[in-house]
């Protein structure tokens, strides 16, 4: 498995204007029997995205022509709450998303996303509302996310800073492997174990 990397992204976006979207909606539990990470993108938002007969629900945003080729999801407040399943960012990344913009993310989802090169971008509610309104007027709106400067911008908007864990940022920019990093502390871990035996 390659280490995820991210520097900058300029891409079109779609809006899912629902708050408290839980990971059971992102990827329902019945798809968690996989023993790899493949194919989850097709099941992303499955119960909203497909009708009972399995055909695409034409009303759902990801089934509309404007969703074609989009790489940024503008989501509602508290996105990714609930279950810790890392299958949620796997499914989002599997679909082709590389960033999600919200006013708040659930903790475990945020951590899981960063480990999979999916950038959780937190912006203020006012900026979020403005972005949603702008996107409603212009389906071709392109956003630029720059991880080096920790900014997100769009035409007519000064790039906005967003918070991100500095360690995760470095890992993503430089392709640092987190497990490899942790393994460097083997000696300290042994010392800890000896002291607490």
């Amino acid at each position: 498995m390659s280490t995820p990397q991210f520097t900058t992204l300029t891409a079109r976006c779609v809006v899912l204007p629902i708050q408290d979207v839980d990971t059971d909606q992102i990827i329902p539990a019945r798809f968690l029997k996989v023993t790899d990470k493949l194919g989850l993108g097709e099941k992303l938002f499955c119960d909203w995205r497909y009708l009972d007969d399995g055909s695409p629900n034409p009303k759902f945003i990801l089934n509309q022509p404007e969703a074609e080729g989009t790489q940024i999801l503008i989501a509602g407040h508290n996105f990714g709450c609930g279950s810790s399943r890392e299958h949620a960012p796997w499914a989002l990344a599997g679909f082709g998303f590389r960033a999600v913009i919200s006013t708040m993310f659930a903790d475990i989802f945020k951590g899981n996303s960063l480990k999979n090169g999916l950038i959780p971008v937190v912006i203020e509610p006012a900026a979020h509302a403005e972005l949603v309104a702008l996107r409603a007027k212009n389906p071709d709106l392109q956003l630029t996310i720059d991880l080096k400067t920790q900014t997100v911008g769009w035409p007519g908007q000064m790039p906005l800073m967003f918070p991100i864990d500095p360690f995760s940022r470095t890992c993503l920019l430089e392709g640092v492997d987190e497990l490899g990093y942790l393994q460097k502390f083997q000696t300290q871990a042994e010392a800890y174990e000896a002291a607490h035996a």
């Binding site: 498995m1 204007p17 629902i18 708050q19 408290d20 839980d22 059971d24 909606q25 329902p28 539990a29 019945r30 968690l32 029997k33 996989v34 023993t35 790899d36 990470k37 119960d47 009972d52 509602g76 407040h77 508290n78 709450c81 609930g82 279950s83 810790s84 399943r85 890392e86 299958h87 708040m104 659930a106 903790d107 475990i108 951590g111 899981n112 480990k115 999979n116 864990d165 500095p166 360690f167 470095t170 987190e178 497990l179 990093y181 942790l182 393994q183 502390f185 083997q186 300290q188 871990a189 800890y192 174990e193 607490h196």
Partner: protein
């Protein structure tokens, strides 16, 4: 006592720091790693790819709970489920990890067997690829859920990279009235703070109502901390905690026990220690709680009418409430009492322990599950099942017309054959009422075991207090 008064959380955090580098998260030592079949396969694959083995198999415990059918045997599982279960067997055996497998008489839901076998102890750091690892905080440990990448990190290094969360005290004063339980406390907390209210925090539950709860009640409360967005929920250990742990298979014995208890007694939050935030609740005024929406924070006292979206100022919140009510097919302003019920599910890591089953059976004894209702009783572990059968609880459930199953997550997660059909309404003792959580199109009302039984008997959402003195709902 240290010069600086510290919280329970701070003490455990500080005593588990392996290393800290500038700019990087803390390297935290993990005392106990619980593993199940659903969130571990890809983590074991990473180890295999890199030629690594589980670093501390003796600190790693595996069980089968999520995708295992509760009808018994692999045959009941579908092919992918079988592959997943077999893979956990192979991964555990290749790494020398103890597995409570299909044939184990102690197998069960990961958060039930940890405490039951004595793995869960005060002061520990405990992780699992499962958000309800917060359950273990009832013992005064720091237990939190992690993703599969992190499962791999802990398997390989017994350490985890973590940023220190903030702390939030949830103080519950007062005394619960009859018919009101630990489950109602936590549903009331969630209704107060909302599903995102605890984000970035670890909860410590304090106050007379929490101290009065037995260990199972404390587990029920801590279990649903994640439903408020908190990573963990904790209760300071006391004699109840030590009595629960004492004598269990993996608990310390002899002089090691005495030393452990002496250490555990230093864990509770010092007088004068501060939390980043405090939320208070009065247990004396609580009524049985039920959820009406599609997240666990959407709860009301069972006697109250459902909220009106028009009463919410925020447009997003209003839209959220409208969407939830529409999914649940409930009408704003109307009572939730009396809504017809199709299924009652008694189980899950929130409410499937022996005390839950006793309380439920106590209320159900001599009564019948309503004709139109399917009631499923699923013990949290095979040990709970045996204990319940030894007491004859299974007979009470069966005589009332309920199904009595093997241990597992069952209908809490609907990936093992137990599930709602579209449109069905369930009163469930589990922890999540998300859309489709208990089966595609299914509608879930979360409640206590007592409320679940009262609703099963009435065939409608019913107040358990109506049954308490031998009454009819």
């Amino acid at each position: 006592m240290s010069q600086n008064p510290q919280t329970l959380f701070q003490k455990i955090w500080d005593s588990h720091i392996v290393a800290e580098e500038p700019g990087a998260p803390t390297v935290l030592y993990i005392d106990l790693h619980l593993v199940h079949e659903v969130t571990s396969p890809q983590a074991f694959s990473v180890l295999k790819e890199r030629g690594l083995k589980v670093r501390r198999p003796e600190r790693t415990v595996a069980t089968m709970d999520h995708s295992i059918p509760t009808k018994g045997g692999y045959e009941a599982a579908d092919e992918m489920g079988r592959i997943q279960l077999r893979l956990l067997e192979a991964n555990a055996s290749a790494n020398g990890v103890r597995l409570y497998g299909l044939d184990s008489v102690q197998r069960g839901i990961v958060h039930v067997i940890g405490p039951e076998q004595g793995f869960t102890q005060p002061g520990m750091t405990i992780v699992c690829g499962d958000s309800h690892t917060s359950t273990h905080g009832a013992f005064g440990s720091l237990g939190f859920g992690i993703g599969t990448s992190e499962v791999g990190h802990v398997l390989a290094t017994q350490c985890l990279l973590q940023r220190k969360p903030r702390t939030c005290e949830i103080r519950v004063d007062g005394t619960l009235r009859p018919g009101v339980t630990a489950k109602d406390i936590i549903l009331a907390v969630l209704a107060k703070i909302g599903v995102g209210g605890g984000t970035g925090h670890v909860f410590e539950y304090t106050g007379a109502a929490i101290r009065t709860l037995d260990m199972e009640g404390r587990m029920t409360v801590c279990n649903m901390s994640i439903e408020g967005g908190a990573r963990a929920g904790m209760v300071a250990p006391d004699d109840k905690t030590f009595n629960f742990v004492s004598g269990r298979e993996f608990a310390p014995k002899g002089s090691a026990w005495d030393q452990a208890v002496a250490r555990w007694r230093t864990l509770p939050t010092d007088a004068g220690a501060t939390f980043d935030k405090t939320v208070t609740l009065d247990a004396s005024s609580l009524e049985p709680m039920v959820t009406f929406g599609t997240n666990p924070g959407q709860g009301v006292a069972i006697t109250q009418p459902l909220p009106q979206p028009s009463s919410l100022a925020d447009a997003n919140e209003r839209a959220g409430l409208e969407k939830s009510l529409a999914y649940m097919k409930f009408e704003a302003g109307k009572p939730i009492l009396g809504q017809p019920v199709d299924v009652v599910f008694l189980g899950s890591c929130t409410n499937s322990r022996i005390g839950d089953l006793r309380a439920a059976a106590g209320l159900l004894k001599g009564r019948k599950v309503a004709k139109n209702v399917r009631m499923l009783v699923v013990p949290g572990s095979q040990s709970v099942k045996q204990a319940a059968e030894a007491e004859g609880l299974d007979q009470i459930f069966k005589a009332a017309g309920a199904e009595w199953r093997e241990a597992g997550c069952s209908m809490c997660i609907a990936m093992n054959g137990d599930q709602l059909t579209p449109g069905q309404l369930a009163v469930s003792t589990s922890n999540r009422n998300f859309e489709g959580r208990q089966g595609k199109g299914g509608r879930t009302v979360l409640a206590s075991p007592l409320t679940a039984v009262a609703s099963a008997v009435a065939g409608r959402i019913a107040d358990p207090r109506s049954l308490l003195n031998g009454g009819h709902p």
